[in-house]
Symmetry: none
Subunit: 210 residues, 4 copies
DNA sequence: GATGAATGAGTCTTCATTCAT
DNA sequence: TATGAATGAAGACTCATTCAT
């Protein structure tokens, strides 16, 4: 009996967890990292206490949402690296795909009230770092992407350009973001670049501040 | 001496008002438009009720801060237009100067909880629109800036790239922002541009959604 | 036992709700419609947020208190109509009973900050109107109550005479109110009335201004 | 010079005082005893600090407003007593005149946050007591006004019936109040009165509670 | 394990009162 | 003396978090 009942329970619980994470991602994108947790529970169709049983506090929930987003972004990076023969095209595809995953929301999620040393998240970020740096490095090695930028530059600029405009339905931004990402990508090409102030930013530089 | 002492304690009050606006600008940059007003009052060194005497509510304060920022940005635009012979250099100088004025903060200020018909602000925005569109149009007419972007594109992208990372001291971002603005500017040049998705965004497009 | 345990902790919650309504009625009678809600919560023995969970804002609480008072007043009217053979005695009994239900408090509750179109309350008021007008009309038809007054006159005068004296323990007023209601009732009799200024006031007249 | 300048000053000050008292009376009638003092100052066309210079606190202001109202009411009582041959007509005229002086506002003014022993006010109340009791007693001696009521009954009932309905423009009430006062007066006549509960209330009874 | 309810701490806003000119 | 400005204290309301069923 125990063996039968337990998995059924776990199925429900897992489903609830997933629904909460999904609802939280949308709410964070819409309201920012301060989205009311009761509202997230409501959207997920669960009681607020269920949210707290699964995620001890807001930070934990943010961690999990970040993990989910990063996982999908990493998958896009792998796919782009594997399937695009042109190394700059791989970068470009990755950037646009990450935008669609709302990576911009991570910007506000990751900077505020978060433990950058949270183990699972650190691992995920390490993997994201690895794969994006590989993408960039390959395009630079091919002479297609200017040499004076680092993966950190690309990640931050891309995150900023895709951040939600607070208080706005994000639909307009979707349209704009892809235009501006394309401008950024054109600026990243090796054709006639201007000198950049400062020096290339790696993802280590970003992590260091935490 | 020219005008008799009509405003008596006006000096102190004006000073307080200015200090509140300054404190609010910094707080908005740091915390976003939802920065606690009590904290702003504390930073300005006044009681909370003084803030409310000068600015009836958060919206009014946001309006005034926006006005102050826009005024300075407009001044930079005029200076750039007047002093830079190269029309693209004028755009570039304007973009970097606006970043230093924390125009990115306006993104969150202007989109949330604001009355776009507030007369003074509407006027200021109209002037900013005029001068930025002039800058862009001149560079486009000179064949230096790609024709498929509008002033709205430039304003939004520039605002996003200079938005504060919530919860972070903004110093790092200052360094990054200028790098990324330069990438954007390189992407805006007429040298080998990629096709952009969607169509050019004017400032009217942005105002329309408000 | 008839219905299965669908409402679980409903017992506690219902009790709290009732205690809040009771405390609010007393506070409104004592302080008027602007009674501090925190004070009401304290008197009810609950946290202030519990009050807000049950009643979204002051208006909602006022609505519910009004409903409770009106319900009881209506019940008295029905009882008086059914049990008093003398039609003027029915009016008299109703008036004195309504005073004991603190109908005077409704005067301040209903006139201030209230949505006259709130459906439940509109229904309750309609029923109160119906039953009081019936009482009055019957006594007028019997020639016992002067013909130049309307139900609105009676309701307003009765409400005013039973309104709490702000800042006073209401015990004294209870004694006075019944005396003055009796004077009013004597003035309502058909014996030797003076001409009244203006014209009879119906309850529609009162509702119209809301 | 001093003798010339001083009286001019005093003339201004006296005018300000009077304007504040008048504005306060209207505001109290409209908003109740809790009317914002800044609003009163605004209506009087003076700075708020001027109000405080003239009236140390709200209680003092209420005292002065009460004095002014009582003075006028007393004047009406004297006039009615002197000019009306019919003693009940004198009572009636007094009651309606007092209503027009907004004596109902005094009800809330006098009961809340007031020192009944404030000397000037005590004197004024004593005079009002004297003159109203004389009016009542004369009508009772003439057999025109029922013997089981006291001046306190009349004063309280009359005050209650003329109290402002909170949150309403008082115009409607003016119309209603005179109707209901007339009903009350009819109830006060010696024609076929009902037995009243309790015993006659003198003005001493009312003062005693403070 | 899941839920509705309760709660205290925090934020915005108002207002009586005091201060400096 | 009259005034605009400053202020602290209080009240409405929200929200993250805990508790009892």
């Amino acid at each position: 009996m125990t063996t039968v009942a337990a998995p059924r329970r776990r199925a429900d619980a897992t489903r609830n967890r997933a629904r909460i994470v999904a609802a939280a991602r949308e709410a964070f994108v819409e309201y920012g990292a301060m989205a009311p947790l009761d509202e997230i529970a409501r959207r997920a169709g669960v009681g607020n206490a269920t949210l707290y049983r699964n995620f001890a506090d807001r930070r934990t929930l943010i961690h999990q949402v970040s993990l989910a987003v990063i996982d999908r972004v990493v998958a896009h990076a792998h796919a782009a690296a594997a399937e695009e023969p042109d190394s700059f095209a791989a970068v470009s595809r990755f950037v646009h795909a990450a935008a669609d995953e709302r990576i911009g929301a991570l910007c506000s999620l990751l900077s505020d009230s978060i433990d950058p040393h949270y183990p699972e998240l650190a691992d995920a970020r390490a993997e994201m770092k690895q794969v994006t740096e590989d993408l960039i490095a390959r395009a630079q090695a091919d002479g297609l992407l200017r040499a004076d930028v680092g993966a950190g530059d690309v990640m931050v600029a891309m995150s900023q350009l895709t951040r939600p405009l607070p208080g706005t339905g994000c639909l307009d931004l979707d349209r704009l973001a892809h235009r501006h990402l394309q401008l950024l990508l054109d600026g990243l090409r090796t054709v006639a670049p201007s000198p950049l102030p400062g020096c290339a930013v790696t993802l280590e530089d970003l992590a260091r501040r935490g």
